[in-house]
Amino acid sequence: MAEQKPSSLVQGTLHMLILKTLALEPMHGYGIGLRLEQISKGVFRVNAGSLFPALRRLERDGLIAGTWQATENNRQGKYYALTAEGRATLKRETRDWEQQSVAIARILGASLGEL
């Protein structure tokens, strides 16, 4: 399994990925990590030391909100959900990201003649 450290993620990417994950459904911390790993087919593996500070920042910035609920196996867990502001931010960042990645792909894929 390729271990991808979040520090080598593009700055802010982890935030965007968490927002995307929560856009599908509210989830607790462990679930978010698991979902990221699944969706990325194991490319991103986020450890707790990175995940929880990121969640705290997003919560403080008002992009996600946490509530305590019963989990599927009947424990109390903190479930995070997107706020309206978080949804807007995700939309904006997704658009920015797509533009950038298209641009980057174009540069990387350019042949000598085009440059």
């Binding site: 607790h28 911390g29 679930g31 030391g49 403080r60 903190k78």
Partner: protein, 907 residues
């Protein structure tokens, strides 16, 4: 991200800290359990799953730390920790803290005091709309201070013809005797203003209305209007809300109060606040004869530049328009006189420039000196902090090895510096407000101001600009002196310092740096000391220069005969008798009377024509004159070089005059001036008193040259006339040559005057010494303060030297012991330490003396009349520095010499 929500979140985070910690614990617990269950579900044993999950999670406390560090409030929290830590550390060494805070307070306080004066006098903009568009019109005559005064007639010419200004306003200061219903009878200061005064400044009334164009017509219904100032309204009119419409009687003319000026508006000149403003059109009602009607009313002018018009373009236009004024001068005075006048424009955002002009140089010099002082204080504290850092090496090393980050240590060192400078800054602000007020008092005691009718009142309350300035220099100094210890913290090598604390880590480069700091302090101190020497010398040159008369033991008493009932032509006999009585007072050696007291700043002058000396009207210059009684030259100690003195018996005889050497030389060359004749021509020049009729005067005596108008002039050609030969006696300045201190005869003089002339009062008593001192106030201030700052800087440098030497001796105790054991005598050891001290002083001299030379040349360019060639200020500075350094070296040297070799080697 909205800053506010982030801020709120952070603050809430600080408050909810405990609850959040618990939640985080729960959350992590849940994470771990879910992870374990997941692993069990895919087939791991519970034990193995728990182990794996724990490893994946990592240290729970590390995760928590990460979460905690996620917000800015952590920075705040650790900073607060550092502040408390620094405060504890400073409390532990009260001696160091006291010295550092005190020297900072003096440095910052001195800077703040001088800056607050500069701010008040030169920087603070007027409370009007767009003050930056305002320019002042100034008139310059060579060799004289710039004048802000023009004639009303010329104002009208400029106002109606210029295209550079959207508005050109005029104002004329005056004192008014006011009275009226509910108005206290008193004399107040105010201004006559042109109709556009308030509107062009954009000053809106607090209530009522301001003076405007409709009040500007002489004889118009509303010409008799008045706007009163906020402070006059509150302090004198009981803040009467129904004040508008009331009548105030100015001199004898009633005027209607139409409005109250806003609270912030005090007039256009710092220090000269106005209580009332009247339309210029009211002047003919108040003042008889009117000076507005003949156009001679003196006014100051401010123009508001039109958008896009530069000051240079406006000046070019004003120079053309100014020809009108110069032609006027050529007609009334002389072509030569008019030719020398020029007009100038100057930005006037801070108002009229009179006070600015007078003090700009002194304040600039003082600001430089206090800047230097602060630099020395900074260097000194940097040295102290460095020594402290060396002593705390062990503590730092321990903290590094316990996991403190380098950044944290640097931050801590800087916070300690900031804390010191903050304390110094607060204390300095307190010192500054006391100092600035004292400084204002001293400055205003000057001759220039004693002559002004209106008392000057400069308020130097620290405002936002001053606070900002102080905060800025406090932070800057902290960074300046904190850089060294911060660097020290950054380069601390934990391993070596832990191994053997004390000498370890004290590298050669660091020692050199410490020495460099002391050398720097010595060099700056020499610059300060030599500046002090320079200004003290300058002051003593000014005070002790040849005046042409004796300044010592000369009492000056002004009589006032206006309400005495005597007419001018009836005073001859009573005054002659009075002089006779006054001469009998025991301690009085000689007494006389004159119309003008020399160097009092006031005088009279006229054109003359000398028989046998053809002179074209254009080449004429005003000749100063004085009306004096017999024994004038004896009393003042001015040598009579030829001929005779005046006598009371000259009265009724042919008119006689005495001239000074400069006059004799110019008009008579090598010939004997005695018996020469001249007469006055044309109108009277600037000055006082009546115009003598055009009769011929015969010169009967020649006296030595003496200063006439002020302390700095070269004695002009001067004519003395016999006061007792004039048609009326109008002279009132008594002068007494005394045998003892002049003030001692004051009572006897007052008594005699009262007995002899019951209705003549004594208006003013002073001495020639005070008069001379009054001319050199800013020089006195600069000399006194530069001496004080020089002493302070030298003390600090000595302290720095002492600290370094003491530290070095302690460090080298072992070495000294070894030397002694190998046969070095105590004298050898003393020499060793002294040589070190001398080396530092010499290095300081090598840097300081050239700096002193350069800075003194710079000072010579800024301060007029400063002689920069003398060697003794630098010699004095060097000698003083060496002497102080030797005193500072004394204790460490003795300690080194008294080292017991056995004890030292055992260590």
């Amino acid at each position: 991200m909205p800053l506010l929500s982030r801020l709120m979140g952070g603050i809430a985070g600080l408050l909810r800290r405990t609850k959040q910690e618990q939640e985080l614990d729960l959350e992590l617990q849940q994470f771990l359990e879910t992870s374990i269950e997941d692993k069990v579900r895919v087939g791991m044993s519970r034990k193995a799953a728990t182990r794996a999950a724990r490893m994946e999670l990592g240290s729970a406390s590390a995760v928590k730390d990460g979460v905690r560090d996620a917000g800015w409030e952590t920075v705040l929290e650790t900073t607060w920790q550092d502040v408390r830590y620094a405060a504890r550390a400073l409390r532990r060494s009260p001696g160091f803290t006291a010295v550092a805070v005190l020297s900072l307070a003096l440095g910052i306080g001195a800077n703040t005091a001088i800056f607050s004066l500069i701010n008040t006098l030169m920087l603070r903009p007027l409370p009007v709309s767009h003050p930056e568009q305002l320019v002042q019109l100034l008139s310059r005559y060579p060799g004289e201070p710039r004048l802000s005064s023009f004639s009303w007639r010329h104002y009208l010419h400029f106002r109606d013809r210029n295209t550079s200004f959207s508005d050109l306003l005029a104002t004329s200061r005056a004192r008014f005797r006011v009275t009226g219903d509910g108005v206290p009878r008193e004399t107040i200061d105010g201004e006559y203003v042109a109709g556009n005064f308030f509107t062009s400044l954009g000053v809106r009334p607090a209530f009522g209305r301001v003076i405007d164009a409709r009040d500007d017509q002489v004889g118009s219904a509303t010409a008799a209007s008045a706007v009163v100032s906020w402070s006059y309204w509150t302090n004198r009119l009981q803040a009467d809300p129904a004040v508008v419409g009331k009548t105030i009687v100015v001199n004898d003319a009633p005027a209607t109060i139409v409005g109250v000026a806003p609270r912030a508006f005090f007039g256009l000149e710092v220090g000269l606040t106005s209580s009332v403003w009247l339309p210029a059109a009211m002047e003919p009602l108040v003042q008889r004869p009117s000076r507005l009607m003949d156009g001679s009313l003196g006014v100051g002018m401010l123009g508001r530049l039109r958008p896009g018009v530069t000051i240079d373009r406006a000046l070019a236009e004003m120079k053309v328009l100014d020809r009108f004024r110069l032609e006027d001068f050529a007609k009334s005075r002389s072509v030569a006189f008019a030719r020398d006048f020029t007009i100038e424009l100057e930005p006037a955002a801070a108002g009229f420039a009179t006070l600015r002009d007078r003090f700009a140089t002194a304040l600039l010099v003082l600001m430089t000196l206090v800047g230097l002082l602060l630099l020395i204080a900074c260097t000194n504290i940097a040295g102290l902090l460095l020594a402290r850092a060396a002593a705390r090496q062990h503590e730092m090393a321990l903290r590094v090895s316990l996991g403190a980050g380098r950044a944290r240590l640097v931050r801590q060192a800087l916070i300690e510096s900031l804390l010191l400078s903050a304390m110094g800054g607060v204390l300095g602000l307190a010192l500054a407000s006391v100092g600035a007020r004292a400084l204002v008092r001293v400055i205003l005691s000057g001759r220039d101001f004693a002559r002004l009718q209106q008392p000057i009142d400069i308020q130097v309350q620290p405002d936002l600009q001053v606070l900002f300035f102080t905060a800025t220099i406090a932070v800057l100094t902290a960074v300046l002196f904190g850089a060294a210890p911060a660097w020290h913290a950054l380069t601390t090598a934990p391993a070596s310092s832990l191994r053997a604390h004390g000498a370890a880590g004290d590298t050669r480069s660091r020692r050199l740096f410490g020495k460099g700091l002391v050398v720097g302090q010595i060099a700056w101190s020499i610059v300060l000391l030599s500046a002090a020497g320079l200004f003290v010398q300058h002051l003593s040159n000014l005070r002790n220069q040849e005046l042409g008369f004796q300044r010592r033991s000369l009492l000056l008493v002004t009589l006032d005969a206006t309400g005495s009932g005597y007419r001018g032509d009836q005073l001859f006999v009573p005054y002659q008798q009075l002089l006779g009585r006054l001469a009998q007072i025991p301690a009085v050696r000689a007494v006389t009377i004159s119309g003008v007291t020399p160097i009092s700043g006031a005088g009279a002058s006229r054109f003359i024509s000398v028989a046998g000396f053809p002179e074209s009207p254009d080449a004429r210059r005003f000749v100063p004159l004085n009306w004096v009684g017999p024994r004038y030259f004896e009393t003042f100690g001015t040598p009579l070089l030829a001929g005779r003195d005046f006598a009371f018996t000259d009265r009724g005889g042919p008119p006689v005059a005495i001239v000074n050497q400069a006059m004799a030389r110019y008009y008579f060359g090598g010939k004997d001036p005695i018996g020469g004749r001249f007469q006055f021509v044309g109108a009277s020049g600037s000055g006082v008193t009546a115009a003598p009729p055009a009769q011929a005067y015969t010169i009967v005596g020649v006296v030595a040259d003496a200063k006439y108008l002020d302390l700095r002039e070269t004695p002009p050609r001067t004519i003395y006339l016999n006061a007792f030969q004039e048609p009326r006696l109008f002279v009132n300045e008594l002068a007494f040559k005394t045998t003892g201190p002049p003030a001692a005869v004051t009572d006897a003089v007052r008594r005699t005057v009262r007995e002899e002339l019951k209705t003549v009062s004594v208006a003013r008593v002073t001495t020639m010494d005070d008069l001379v001192d009054g001319w050199v106030v800013s020089e006195r201030v600069i000399a006194a303060l530069s001496t004080f700052f020089g002493g302070l800087g030298t003390t600090l440098a000595a302290l720095g030297l002492y600290g370094l030497l003491a530290f070095t001796v302690t460090r080298r105790t072992n070495e000294i012991g070894t030397r002694m054991a190998l046969g070095a005598s105590r004298a050898d050891i003393s020499r060793l330490v002294l040589r070190g001290a001398l080396g530092l002083v010499c290095a300081g001299l090598v840097i300081g003396v050239p700096l002193g030379l350069v800075s003194r040349r710079a000072a010579g360019r800024v301060v007029p009349g400063l002689s920069v060639d003398g060697a003794w200020p630098l010699v004095f500075a060097t000698a003083a520095m060496v002497a102080v350094a030797m005193v500072a070296a004394y204790v460490p040297t003795r300690r080194a010499a008294s080292v017991d070799p056995i004890d030292a080697l055992r260590q």
